[in-house]
């Protein structure tokens, strides 16, 4: 099985009611481990079904297979349904490339630093 690790840390929220987490991905997500690792995120979404704000740190994520991209799309759908948000930080160029071609960068903003991503995650959006 390919090595992969997911760690979750709390991020201090700026608005009451928000639950913000930093999710750090390490290694490679492929056929051998993606289903098992995806359960961690699904468990988190189930635990916090509303106002969940996730910052995905992809700095140490070397590879994502097609299934993991499918999961990412599904997580986005579930979290936004619960009025939450996802952002991505420090993604490697190849993964950013894949996300751009798939169209996920239109849904999930990607940032080069964790601070930028945190700021964007916790900042309330301006009303339409």
């Amino acid at each position: 099985m390919t090595q992969s690790n997911i760690t979750i840390e709390d991020i201090p929220a700026t608005t009451q009611g928000q639950v913000a987490k930093l999710v750090k991905f390490q290694g490679q997500l492929d056929e051998s481990n993606v289903d098992e690792k995806a359960k961690i995120i699904y468990a988190l979404i189930e635990q916090v079904p509303q106002n969940l704000y996730l910052l995905f740190d992809f700095e140490e994520l070397e590879y994502m297979n097609s299934k993991s991209i499918g999961y990412l799309t599904d997580w986005y759908g579930k979290i936004t349904e619960g009025h939450g948000k996802i952002v991505i930080a420090k993604s490697k160029n190849n993964i950013l490339d894949i996300l751009q071609v798939v169209g996920l960068t239109q849904l999930i903003n990607c940032y080069t630093t964790t601070d930028e991503a945190k700021f964007a995650l916790l900042q309330p959006s301006t009303p339409a």
Binding site: T15, Q16, G17, Q18, V19, D35, A38, K39, Y42, A43, E46, V48, P49, Q50, N51, M64, N65, S66, K67, I69, G70, Y71, T73, D74, Y76, G77, T80, H83, K85, N94, D97, I98, Q100, V101, V102, G103, L104, Q106, L107, P124, S125, T126, P127, A128
Partner: protein
Amino acid sequence: MPNDSFTLYILSGILAFIPALIWLTVIFKKTKRKGIQTLIFLGSIFSVVPVFILHYLLREYPQFDVLRLLSSNIRDATIISIFTYISVGIVEEIVKQLLIRGVDHKYLLIQTINESLQFSLISALGFSFAENIFYIYSIYINYGIKQLFIAYLFRSIFTTCAHLVFSGFLGYYYGIAKFSLNIVEQNKWLGKKQRLTNFISRVFGMSKTQSYKELTILKGLGIAIVLHATYDFLLELNQTLLVVIFIIISAAVLLHLLKQRSGKLILITDIDTQKTSSMAQKDEQVVIELLGMWFQDKKYVDVIHICQRLLQRDPDNKVVQLFKAKAGDKIQDESAYGKILKNIFPKKDQKKLDDLAKEKPETLPIVPIQATQAKATVATTQKTLTPTENKPAEPTAPTPEEQVFKLKI
């Protein structure tokens, strides 16, 4: 008398040319390469020659007539008829296709699946035109002008159409076989098992592409022969109405195949002019794998959009072009009868990426978290991105003369 025969043949030729010209006009409306197709038509007129040579040889050397040998051992006239029509179908379908294959092999004539189908139609038309000359002549000589009129009408419309349909199917599958490299790769990404292809590949020691190619050509030939034999058999039973319905349905299926977007793709790749991808191969394969998954999940709109973005990075990727075309065909198929079906069997809508993008929240209402006891759900990627007064006449084995001159192909 030779002069009269010659004049009759000329007249037969003129009569046979009228429906051929009408059919050519209909086919040419949909095609671009009219010059080469005219040459194919003229060349295919001579494709009847091997058929007549075969008939002549079997008459002169009956000891090699396998059909006669079989007939002498089989009593059931129906089975003999079926064998006859299958053998006629095999010979005629192969000779109709020979010219196309020969020219394509030498000059890379065929660039798309549709072109293979269209060239096959033209070839069939030439064959039918030549065959009609002999039929018109012999029917006039043997049965007179009254019988000729009905036979002429029937052969001009239905028999010619039948020739086009049978060859069209063979041409379509020949086109797919020709571009089997791209299609086999697409099938791989779609997760199709291709067990028979793999089996043939192992048994005969050939590549999967070659195995798929041979199987597809055989499939096309098999379909053409079965259709051909069915047509002849129904005619033998004097089931004219059934014959007409049969031809109309077969033609409708062929027209549907002709309208497929994937059929219009230029799948020939000129390596010298092919642009390289601006995306790393490993990353591109991840995206193509995702295309396969989402195609199976029927997310056709998402597939098309991803293909559009990917083709900006790798414009000459034929597999991606195929995915885009096939997704477009699926959407088109769905829009017609799919809407009707959805009203009868309403389904929970799968959210598309575009819908999610539109729903991207502009405001973030703060809702107090309420303790919930939702059940654990783990999403799994779906594997799917499917008388006795009207009793028909008893069939009799055709005589050698009747084999040539009966009102059938």
